[in-house]
Symmetry: C2
Subunit: 338 residues, 2 copies
């Protein structure tokens, strides 16, 4: 049988376990050209909140009763397609289920590159790693000596963006949600400074960590963190709008950053992007990142929760900042994951 | 004697006449190399609110007791500089006074181009016209068929930006503050549509005028107008942050545009600029605009108030939206202005 989580309700305020419904359905039989993937890991992303709500119109709508969308990694367990023999390791938009049937006419099944683990394939080399790469390269446009600040810095995207900026010669400051994560950023990942936004004086700490202002602000947070960073930008700064985790579960009406007006005084720009616009360029980015990962210059971490049933609670934990690096869930029907 | 308005107080809420103090001082005598300009017209700009407050750090601070800053046009009345003989027509940052002493070592005295009136020199060919040109060309980057929306559309900058966008092949929609101004925009200036934001259903009107969304939004307003426009942008839109007249006289804490987040979904950008960064390119822009003005393709208007003493009330009227086109004041000590 195939366990699936269906979208049971549009979330209001914080995502709840009851927004999902667990069902078991017979595993579908592959027809000519089809491939059956046994899903091993699901990656969780803050953007899922938007998918659940159908606010995110850059991606096909999710109806109530649909299998919840999610990017995963797995192994081909039945194949009618010679290009993907049984045992092939693949990633794709598999959804929250243990078996994914890839139809002959479907696209978007990616091969896991040689030498890359399944976990890394949906972590640093997956959507969130790609988000860090393209946000930095295409919008942040770092140059040597730039002051780079990133929020949700210990998350899957932020931790990679910060390290990539460091490799590009920036001074890197991370904003995150605990002292432990701050330590991880500076002591393990090599950030120049880190600020815990739960400290009452975090705004002073941030200003102190960036005495000359900010050239690139990579925003995963929104809210007061974005506003504070906008107050510190310097001339010709680039604000990379990547996400807004503080917004996704808000139940009261949201306001925008009052300091947006500083974009005028500082001749600065704020630009949004959708990583899925760059899928045709993913392989080139992965190729560029692989040697950095292999040499240990670019580190990655994940937080792995066990068991298919853990998906909803792991998503909620992600919004509470429990993860360090990529939030994954081992969802395989088989006891042991690859 | 030289009449001057000094900055008497930092404004709180709406600018008041009492924020300025009228004084009369002896006209200074030009020394070697100096030039004395008899100021004929002062141009008024919304940005003046920021100068009074010292919020605008892109320009030298104004201290209490300083002559209020302002760009004007006038005639050289005494000269110790062969490059500017008596009678030369010039523009510059003369300040709110009737006589401006240009020191030998000062820069930033511009010659009025051949065939351009003093009023046009500080209107369409002055700071506000340049703001329209550089905001459109450098940030808006119009292409044929783009949908272009501008706020404060009947103002000195908005009316020029809209016409320039029209010349560049855009569909142009203006947002302004009265039915009369709407009529002027569509019937005289050739805008495709205009919306009066004082109408209760202006947001529906705007959406109706832009059924396919907005490619370029040129913002002079901030506040709810910016927010509404951000809700209508389409993919790869450019939001030109030029000003925020709704903000300048606000007495309560300002909020930002909640719809900024749409910049992500729409892969769009919002960028600020300061026209004074482009002074070395002004003459090229003026040269490009002159034939458009001469042929009547690019029209301009101004609202002229009479008498030096009218400066404070004219500035207040500007914030109330009383002007159509450039707000000028004829300030000459002589009875008749050129």
């Amino acid at each position: 049988m195939n366990k699936q989580f269906l979208l049971a309700a549009r979330p209001e305020g914080m995502v709840r376990e009851s927004d999902f419904m667990l069902v078991e359905t017979p595993i579908q039989t592959p027809e000519a050209g089809d491939i059956l993937v046994e899903v091993q890991y699901m990656g969780l992303e803050p953007a899922m909140r938007g998918w659940m709500e159908n606010r995110a119109d850059y991606i096909a709508p999710l109806a109530l009763g649909d299998v919840m969308r999610g990017f995963g990694a797995g192994r081909v367990s039945l194949s009618n397609n010679a290009d993907y023999p049984v045992g092939s390791l693949v990633t794709g938009s598999f959804g929250w289920q243990q078996y994914y049937l890839h139809k002959a006419d479907a696209t978007a099944l990616q091969r896991v590159p040689e030498g890359v683990s399944l976990r890394a394939a949906i972590g640093i080399f997956g959507i969130t790693g790609m988000t860090a790469w393209f946000g930095l390269e295409r919008i942040g446009k770092p140059t040597d000596g730039d002051i780079f600040v990133v929020s949700s810095a210990a998350g899957a995207t932020g931790s990679v963006a910060g390290q990539l900026a460091k490799i590009r010669g920036c001074r890197v400051v991370g904003i995150t949600s605990s002292a432990t994560k701050c330590e991880w950023l500076t002591d393990t990942l090599g950030f120049d400074a880190a600020v815990n936004y739960r400290d009452p004086d975090w705004q002073q700490q941030l200003a102190h960590a960036c005495p000359d202002g900010i050239d690139i602000y990579f925003d995963n947070a929104g809210g007061e963190i974005l506003n504070t960073a906008l107050g510190l930008i310097r001339n010709a700064a680039r604000v990379v709008l990547c996400g807004g985790i503080s917004r996704y579960n808000a139940s009261s009406p949201l306001s925008g950053p009052a300091n947006y007006f500083n974009l005028i005084f500082r001749r600065a720009s704020m630009q949004g992007f959708i990583v899925l616009d760059h899928t045709t360029e993913f392989s080139a980015a992965i190729e560029a990142m692989q040697p950095l990962v292999a040499s240990g210059k670019l580190q990655h971490a994940d937080t792995l929760n066990q068991g298919f049933e853990a998906l909803p609670s792991a998503l909620i934990a992600l919004f509470q900042g429990a993860n360090q690096g990529k939030q994954l869930v081992a969802v395989s029907a088989q006891r042991q994951s690859l």
